[in-house]
Subunit: 494 residues, 2 copies
């Protein structure tokens, strides 16, 4: 079963990466002098094993990196970056300048047309049984109300089943979905996936029964009267109704009042509307490969955010990881066998146009895309990766290789006490469109126990990010990308 | 040293309460039949020891009580209750109705004139380096701005020392105090006491150096861009400047920008102003004592709140504890030797007029005030009491009595796993004015690790209160008040 496969330069391989052997000692141990390969300018194997280069990368990033400075430049200097906004355009200019300053090559903005949804002024006020402004955020993609607003009685339902039971009685009324998100647990993870259905589809469900507007409880398990925005859609219904999120506190209050038989009336005013698509871009920069420059490992985050807060965890941090991982490799003068390409996706939040267009624009080059990494789970202590590999045989061979890579990275000082794992599972939205092309997808995972407290809120700001966690993520992404781009065979090759 | 002191009815005492003996078995163990006292209508000792009556009270409260229903009526039905507001007047009416329905005696509103501070519309907007509305709340007692607002450059300082160093350079500018509150720890408790000085006094410090307005970081260790209001004062300075709290996130952003040398300009608009004092009241109801009705044990919370959120933890919960503790004793037909008096204080937050007026209005009766209990630390899992006793000899005797009472209450099923302690320390604001009269003061303590997350915010709402914690607090207050009101001698008597 052991077999050596050599790259074009005839290098001796780190064994386990080439062969899918899980024993940690095989591939990443320092080479013995007798197995030293011929010198290869810019390469790694001429100087050290991957265990050594991984340690170099991680140590260098943790000792000194510019990730937090860059994150502040992006978040404080520019702010939130909704698709179609001037802020996002400014951020794209900033990112290209930053990449050039860091010495990246082929820096460019790859044009993508994106939707432009504009929030405008908005408010929700309870007018009966007493006047009280509600903490709300309109949902991305929602239509607006007439200028005078929509004033109607509220019917609160806990879930879709209850809506179906009350049925046409909601006609002419405002439906409130008060479906709670389950708190994070180590066993079950976050309750986001289940709860977010109400934000995604609540308006179309309520419109079907004649509701004139809809509200949903913010998708979070923890609130300080904090509204959470996010994308919604109308499916194929013809009559679109305005749809907004209210804070958990307000949803609970309304539901309590309704449960006691109190008539609750709300006035909802939203100027929300769509404007014609505008030009945006995926922002790209590279470290060209020294030997197989047409083969590409993508490292990425999404550059757009919602129009509240600073888009720090979602996903400024992920973008900075990619920018700084490449910058760190440049500073170390490490040029891998293949190209590492930084891509800052546009329009993940409300259209996925960046991620969708990329495989179209790079269609002929997709077979040369070896792997794509995206970080879009917040910037907390790293946990490793969730991977998607659409070829079972390749996946089987890749699993022990990834496991060993995680062990090698976790063995560095920066990850003391941290467990890094590579597990099969959903990776990330933007890179997902490359899956049909056989690209190995890697979603960078973190301790996401508090992510949804901040997600899509005014509170997703720089101060929520621990500089050390950001540095650890930069190191993880840089080391992983370097090894995947430099190893002689592709991950999971026979 | 052992000595028995008999009440007017000649009862055998629960020993340790009378004698200050700490051994738990002495006082609260069930009596042996041979020591059974003569029957006493309405009393306890004719039926059981205090251990038994404590268990009866606690079990009955936990099995069935109306505290959460009452809390919802107050918070959802009426809402926040700032001094001088219509809401507080409505709450005072509601409380009297509730007391009468529960069978309390001598229900009344004892008139107190209170200050009326009105927030009005308010906003703070960063206009340079980019436009961004700030999450803010004006501070109670602040003056307002001219209608067009105050627009000025911001100087951020971390603490008072830094303000003094920058000195007159803040003239004509807005000072931001960005002093962080330390997170809660079991060793040090909350960091509130230290951090709140900036909210209390920041405006007068900044005005001294010529600042035109002041902002302060909200007093909290946890934020989801959550502004916290609270009282401020100007001391004896002549030129009062407008003063508002901004969220931690906004304070950090401004401080980061200033630290980078970026010019930050803010426009502050506040309609805040004082109006003439208006009539309010301490709301009072009683269970008259069966034997010493002029001797009084007060149980209390403060009924006013800030004008945001629902005043649920601060201090709706404390008021409901007092209301429901009395109601529970009525339902159990337990009439103690002395009078238990429920007092819902007015104007704790911005004047302490209720607590200040009470000893004036009841001056002649103060010697008959045996003890005063107030709950104003939020409604979380109970921890016991902090007590103040201004007579060292009495305190020494009271300590083991209180310790034993805590042990007896903690031994009931409702408090399994909970440690109840009585410790010397600050009790609570409203009752503090009774200290000079020798009244034993008891502040009901809870697990306050998250209290300041909600304190004085829009997020201080019913949903933050666990009904079981509320019930445990009702039980603790009812049992404590009953024993203190029923024991033959006063707490700490020789």
């Amino acid at each position: 079963m052991l077999r050596r496969r050599c790259g074009t330069s005839g290098l001796v391989l780190p064994l386990s990466l080439a062969l899918g052997v899980a024993a940690a000692t095989l591939g990443f141990a320092p080479r013995s002098p007798s197995s030293a390969p011929p010198a290869e300018p810019g390469g790694v194997a001429d100087r050290e094993s991957y265990a050594e280069v991984v340690k170099r990368i991680v140590d260098a990033v943790l000792a000194d990196n510019q990730s937090y400075v860059k994150l502040q430049e992006l978040c404080d200097g520019i702010g939130p970056r909704l698709s179609g906004s001037e802020n996002l355009s400014r951020a794209i200019v900033w990112a290209q300048e930053t990449m050039r300053r860091d010495g990246l090559e082929n820096v460019r903005a790859e044009k993508v047309m994106v939707p432009k949804w504009v929030r405008g002024h908005e408010s929700a006020e309870m007018t009966e049984p007493r006047r009280m402004p509600l903490a709300m955020l309109g949902l991305g993609g929602s239509v607006g109300t007439p200028p005078e607003g929509i004033t109607a009685q509220v019917v609160a339902v806990r879930d879709k089943d209850e809506l179906e039971r009350v049925g046409d009685s909601v006609a002419g009324k405002i439906v409130l979905f008060n479906n709670p998100m389950q708190p994070y647990s180590t066993e079950r993870g976050t309750g986001y996936g289940e709860a977010v259905r109400y934000r995604s589809s609540g308006a179309q469900w309520a419109a079907k029964y004649g509701a004139v507007a809809a509200l949903t409880r913010s998708v979070t398990a923890r609130s300080l009267r904090t509204p959470h925005t996010g994308a919604t859609g109308y499916g194929d219904i013809e009559r679109k109704i305005p749809f907004a999120a209210v804070s958990v506190e307000d949803a609970e209050l309304i539901a309590r009042l309704c449960a006691r038989g109190v008539r609750v009336v709300i006035t909802l005013k939203m100027e929300a509307h769509d404007e014609p698509d505008v030009e945006s871009a995926n922002t790209v920069g590279e470290i060209r490969g020294r030997e197989l420059p047409d083969e590409v490992v993508v490292i990425s985050g999404h550059f757009d955010s919602w129009d509240v807060g600073q888009g720090a965890h979602d996903d400024g941090g992920g973008c900075i990881m990619a920018l700084e991982a490449a910058a760190a490799l440049k500073r170390l003068d490490l040029r891998p066998r293949r190209t590492i390409r930084v891509v800052l996706w546009t329009n993940e939040e409300n259209g996925l146009r960046g991620g969708s267009q990329y495989p179209v624009q790079h269609f002929d080059a997709m077979p040369q895309h070896v792997a794509a990494i995206e970080a879009d789970s917040g910037t907390f202590e790293p946990r490793g990766y969730r991977f998607e590999i659409n070829d079972a045989a390749r996946e089987k061979r890749a699993v022990p290789q990834l496991a060993e890579l995680m062990r090698v990275i976790a063995a560095t000082d920066a990850f003391r006490g941290v467990t890094l794992q590579a597990q099969a599972g959903g990776s990330a939205a933007d890179i997902s469109r490359m899956k049909p092309f056989g690209v190995v997808l890697l979603g960078q995972e973190v301790d996401s126990s508090t992510y949804f407290d901040y997600h899509h809120t005014h509170a997703d700001t720089v101060d929520k990010i621990d500089p050390r966690h950001l540095s650890q993520n930069v190191a993880l992404m840089a080391a992983t990308a370097f090894v995947l781009a430099d190893m002689p065979g592709r991950l999971g090759d026979e």
